[in-house]
Symmetry: C3
Subunit: 138 residues, 3 copies
């Protein structure tokens, strides 16, 4: 992972082998970001996507081994118990251009990740008992 | 819906039960925004997506009852006859991570909506007779 | 294509018949942009999407004749050998709201393209022999 800061924003390039969530969370920690918005594209492999089951109050997960275009990566940065958290949703596509999407749990960069981050002020995420997950509290 | 304004941008959090289009249009009206760009993610239900039929010059619509991840929400803010209009396209995904996408007409928040708005200057949308819908006139 | 520059950003409106990649690359050249981030929506036809085959080190391409909603357009601007290059990934949807996605090679505007560009500083893309394509070098 390499990044460049300019005019308050970040251009981030993830390299082959980098894991998307871990890399971005590491950058957030290193740069002491406390909020922000993320968007990007790339090429990924070994993707794990999630769908939040409101009855079970937990994510069901599905693994996508193999290679995918990362057609869209959108999400945000917040703090959970003062620790950085990147909430990202991804749309991926296979060699037939068929698409899959969901909450991004894991994705290894297979080619590159080209990502922009716009920092926001401190944004905290607190546990919501009714829904069973952490939500941004403004 | 709650929102925070900072450095000219907005971080918007939609709550369970909020309808996406109505909530964002209400915010645009309240904040007197006359243009802007929107992007976000979330969890939604009872989604109505549209596809513009160029021959009939109208949208065909399809309803998606049940719960979906809002994998991508992208669009813009403009004025039609001085009234605020949010033009949004959405990509949603089901529990098998299969995706559907189109022009967003309606979506209830089932979990949360995490949305960023960057205001632009006054942007007007005028009716285009040839195509049969309102287009941004720069 | 028409565009408006404000606060350092661009609001771009593509017209019926404009080709997305050629139009945006032309704008980048005209405005002497050397980097930046792009996102947008629209309605398109005659779309060509690509999937990078890491073994063959080349894109496999698939054509999508007919009309599609451009549900998401995300990407960036860089220079390759000092020439402007727009790297864009697209998610498109058909009348049944089924989606396809990938690296965008070609798309004619059928209705409109509503696109925002945030310029970045000079961003260069260099050939990576191992992967077989040009990657951003920070």
């Amino acid at each position: 992972m390499k990044f460049r800061k300019e005019n308050g924003s970040y251009l981030v390039v993830l390299d082959k082998g980098d894991e998307v969530i871990a890399s971005l969370t590491g950058l957030v920690q290193q740069e002491k970001l406390e909020g922000g918005f993320i968007r990007g594209i790339g090429g990924v492999s070994n993707v794990t996507l999630g769908f939040f089951d409101l009855e079970k109050k937990e994510y069901s997960k599905k693994q996508f081994p193999g290679f995918y275009e990362l057609a869209s990566l959108v999400g945000d940065i917040s703090l959970v118990d003062e620790k950085p958290f990147c909430h990202l949703h991804a749309v991926i596509s296979d060699p037939q251009m068929n698409t899959f999407a969901g909450h991004l749990f894991f994705a290894e960069i297979s080619i590159t990740g080209e990502i922009a981050i716009t920092p926001f002020n401190k944004t905290q995420r607190l546990f919501n008992k009714d829904l069973g997950l952490n939500l941004i509290r403004l």
